[in-house]
């Protein structure tokens, strides 16, 4: 019996010819990523367990990307970044993207890709649940806690159970009004927030081939919102071009077997799908935009690992150009590279930055996770009261963006931009 892409990657990293779903295996880790929220706790456990003078297993495989609480005056948050800085120096960590330095990047999942740390066929763990984003590059990537991360820091290994794979096939072409966000919200709505718990979610089909690498990242990013262990997409020419432009590492591309066994296969016809939102307070509480259009909103938010990439702003700018927003619209580039490219990339001679600015959006001065997860009280865009917000982020749990009383709708950048113009939830097709 053949193996799925996820099974083949895990078999290789476990040093086995074959693994089956349910097998417990120890795998060799290619990259361990941590950030300012979970890094300090991880370092603490690493030192407690391996000794104060211990060295990480490979200083080139531990990647440290502060991104969560960067532009805050919170003294604890600042101290946490100091802890990372001190550790990176002490350990000679090669890839540390320090705050306030020219190396600063911003949101870890986007930065990992931009800096060439996401590569086909590899195993990536990160102390962040959205580490599954990197499955877009044909690798096994998943989130872990501090204890597991500390274990990897010292050993370069971790145990895991080989998951079964659920396959999601998108047939047909992606229509211009649909984005990866709509596709993944559709899936989460269909299978529920625990519909893929313990399972790999593999995305395939003509629709996926059409998607850019960034859009594929959005799709894999939200696998965790269905409870998935990882999201994954077989690498193709687009993947390899993206990776080869950014990484000099030797790449061992792995593909799933033709006769692999999937736990389930679900097919979608892209022509039949509509723009989707997730209503408060759960990513599986979905509705089509046409079902909720007209719902009044107080603010819009465009940012995060899932919705603050260049392509997300390009989509928003296409809608916002020549319009004015009717509600507070917060824009947070995920990384410094995205921030720079907002000013470089033009639509009919006008930069994306200037389109967003002229439409009246408030643009963050610096790339970070910002209000996607609320954060300290002085975080840009954080909800404070009963705001109704429509956001390109990935979670709308109670209190997620700050206030327990606020209500968050999740949607694609196209839908958020259209809604910003009208001050109510709006179908982006009205602007096509």
């Amino acid at each position: 019996m053949g193996m799925t892409l996820t099974e083949k990657i895990l078999a290789k990293h476990a040093g086995k010819r074959h693994v089956s779903p349910g097998d417990n295996v120890w795998v060799d880790v290619d990259v361990l990523m941590t950030h300012d929220v979970c890094g300090p706790g991880t370092i603490e456990i690493f030192k407690r367990e391996f000794g104060a003078g211990a060295k990480v297993w490979d200083r080139e495989k531990v990647v440290i990307i502060p991104d969560h609480y960067v532009f805050t005056q919170d003294p604890y948050a600042k101290r946490n970044i100091d802890i990372l800085r001190e550790f990176a120096l002490e350990q000679g960590i090669k890839y540390f993207y320090d705050v306030g330095s020219p190396n600063y990047k911003g949101v870890c999942h986007v930065a990992l890709a931009e800096e060439g740390h996401t590569r086909p066929g590899e195993v990536l763990f990160g102390t962040d649940s959205h580490t599954c984003t990197a499955g877009a590059f044909g690798e096994f990537a998943t989130g872990i806690g501090n204890t597991d991360a500390a274990f990897i820091m010292g050993t370069g290994k971790l145990w895991l159970k080989v998951p079964t794979t659920m396959k999601f096939v998108f047939d047909g072409e992606v229509p211009p009004y649909l984005m990866a966000k709509d596709m993944i919200l559709q899936i989460i709505g269909d299978i529920g927030v625990d519909g893929a718990t313990y399972k790999a979610m593999e995305f395939a089909g003509e629709g996926i081939s059409m998607l850019s690498v960034e859009e594929r990242m959005t799709l894999c990013n939200m696998a965790i919102e269905a409870g998935g262990k990882n999201g994954i997409i077989a690498p193709d020419a687009k993947t390899l071009r993206f990776v080869n432009e950014r990484s000099k590492s030797k790449i061992d591309v792995i593909y799933g077997d033709e006769d692999a066994e999937y736990e389930s296969v679900r097919r979608y016809n892209l022509k039949e799908l509509e723009p989707v939102v997730a209503k408060p307070h759960s990513p599986d509480n979905t509705a089509t935009v046409s079902e909720v259009k007209g719902t009044k909103i107080d603010r819009c938010y465009i940012g995060s690992c899932t919705g603050g990439k260049l392509e997300d702003f390009r989509a928003a700018a296409r809608i916002l150009r020549g319009h004015t927003v009717r509600v507070d619209t917060f824009v947070v580039p995920s990384t410094t590279e995205v921030e720079k490219r907002l000013k470089d990339e033009m639509i009919d001679g006008e930069s994306l930055f200037s389109i967003l600015k002229n439409a009246g959006a408030k643009i963050a001065d610096g790339a970070s996770c910002a209000a996607c997860l609320g954060g300290p009280p002085d975080t840009f865009g954080r909800t404070e009261g009963k705001e109704v917000c429509i956001s390109t982020t990935n979670r709308n749990f109670p209190g997620r963006m700050g206030s327990k009383q606020s209500q968050v709708y999740l949607a694609s950048p196209l839908t958020v931009a259209a809604s910003a113009i009208k001050g109510e939830i709006t179908d982006p097709r009205e602007f096509f």
Binding site: E44, H68, Y76, N146, F151, K161
Partner: protein, 188 residues
């Protein structure tokens, strides 16, 4: 591991996510400083919507104002407990607040793994719909060997699912202790 875990239960519903368990603004405190880590206990479960906080009535605080320890040491919940973030601060916050066992219909994967590998408490699963059977404040007794949960207040007994593969890790007290015991890491 204790043979019997007993105490008062705090009852929650389905899909309790990690933002409800420990809101993100509090993720800044040190987990190692003995004083500072108490903040995690203080804010444990502080973002659960009031109506769902301590079922069936709701509006029951898990940790009283000014405290960092809860009067409830056993949590009973529905499906998908701990969904969302990978923040290990979530199971650890429950541990700091004094939780010894969580009994849920199912768990989100990373949270479950963190509970086990960190050795914070015993995460039991049950096929029973316990969160509608039990009330916040009920006296509970869990017998490890029998794998049963007895609601002392109502007298009813329920079956828990076997811990399975993770029992060894839980028995050892977490992944590090387990790896040392099994010879994967050298013992200290």
């Amino acid at each position: 591991m204790k043979d019997i875990i007993k105490g008062k239960t705090y009852v929650l519903g389905n899909d309790i996510d990690t933002d409800q368990i420990i809101p993100a603004q509090h993720l800044v405190y040190s987990l190692s400083d003995p004083e500072e880590r108490k903040q995690y206990g203080r804010y444990a479960l502080s973002s659960v919507p009031d109506a769902q906080a301590g079922l069936p009535e709701g509006n029951i605080r898990f940790v009283n104002e000014g405290n960092h320890r809860s009067e409830f040491n056993i949590i009973i919940a529905g499906k998908n407990f701990g969904c969302g973030s990978s923040r290990e601060h979530a199971p650890e916050a429950l541990n700091i607040a004094g939780v010894e066992a969580v009994v849920a219909e199912s768990y989100a994967r990373i949270f479950y793994r963190n509970s086990v590998d960190g050795g914070f408490y015993i995460p039991f699963e049950t096929g029973e719909h316990l969160f509608t059977e039990c009330r916040t404040g009920d006296e509970i007794e869990i017998e490890m060997k029998k794998g049963t949960l007895r609601n002392v207040t109502t007298g009813k007994v329920y079956q828990l699912k076997p811990l399975g593969d993770v029992e060894q890790i839980l028995m050892a007290g977490g992944i590090f202790a387990y790896a040392r015991k099994s010879g994967m890491l050298s013992s200290r």
